[in-house]
Symmetry: C2
Subunit: 196 residues, 2 copies
């Protein structure tokens, strides 16, 4: 997605060989117009798949997921990292290992929002090792729903997540795929054809 790549080049910062900081428009400050275009792009790529729900992870997944939900006209559910006081019964939980923080955390969704007739699009802001996306897919499958695919705003294609998810049979659509962040330089994977 050209608009997104342009934004990443203009405002993203390669903090290290593995960390891309995009707090200017995605992770802390949010650019609503860009999110709207991202939502439209996800909707276009998964059009005709019969998506009935979108599942994402708080907090940075919410804006792109809600914009996609607006275009596809389906509800969005965000998995919580922390248990809520008023959301306790019937939680479906999975574990996410964070390589960055070196810790395992539970994420959960109230089971009542998922049923076996649903066909779910998973959306997240980043794909690196694939642990968050796998945990979201795990939750969806625990409720006998089917996963229509995984939509990612920014994939760090030099890490294993994309390969891992594809090997497990998931269709992954990443709107920007980073080839490398070495020498504080952001390079994209040559995207002549869309990733199917």
């Amino acid at each position: 997605m050209e608009l997104l790549q342009k934004k990443i080049l203009e405002e993203g910062i390669a903090l290290s060989d593995t960390v891309l900081k995009v707090d200017n428009f995605l992770n802390h400050q949010i650019d609503p117009k860009l999110m709207n275009e991202i939502g439209k792009e996800f909707a276009a790529r998964f059009k005709g798949e019969g998506i009935t729900k979108i599942v994402t992870l708080e907090s940075s997944g919410i804006a792109p997921a809600v914009m996609a939900g607006l275009v596809l006209n389906v509800p969005v559910i965000f998995a919580r990292k922390k248990k809520s006081l008023t959301l306790t019964e019937g939680l479906i939980t999975s574990q996410v290992y964070s390589y960055t923080k070196q810790e395992t955390n539970d994420i959960s969704i109230a089971g009542k929002f998922l049923n076996d007739k649903d066909h779910v699009l998973i959306i997240d802001d980043f794909l690196a090792n694939g642990q968050a996306a796998l945990a979201l897919a795990d939750i969806v499958q625990k409720t006998n729903e089917s996963v229509a695919g995984i939509g990612i705003v920014i994939e760090k294609a030099f890490q294993d997540g994309g390969k891992l998810l594809s090997e497990k049979g998931y269709r992954v659509e990443s709107l920007a795929r980073i080839q490398s962040l070495t020498n504080q330089t952001i390079e994209f994977v040559n995207q002549k054809t869309s990733v199917k």
Copy 2:
């Protein structure tokens, strides 16, 4: 806002005299079309105020704030409850006391996103005791920005927050104002005139 009141009556649950559960469309599952209408309503109410930025709090504030930001064409910044590994320098922090959880938590925003020319609309999902809104206003004012007003999706008008914020001189616009939740019944404040 009639559409919102209707949704609250249809899908909200009065869990106790003080707790309203709206996880069906706002706090866990999100209704993107309703969020879009909420965004338009906030934009209409604060039109002409010269808003340059919206500040909200993760996670449930993000969807309504981003929709308002889309209509007003301004960036949205969400305050974080937990410090990020890649967002460390120049944080502006304030404290929120939660009466429900009986604990005090820091919330923070990277100072670089706020400057003294900004005129900020604060948006949050709920207004109860006003502690979260006050902490957001405190952060905004620490950076010498001005607060244009506070937009709330659901105000529990039987609690002190609305009064407290008005006394401090803030313009508060609540899209739905709950009068009472007693006997598992949701009653709204009679809203013949809009709250100015």
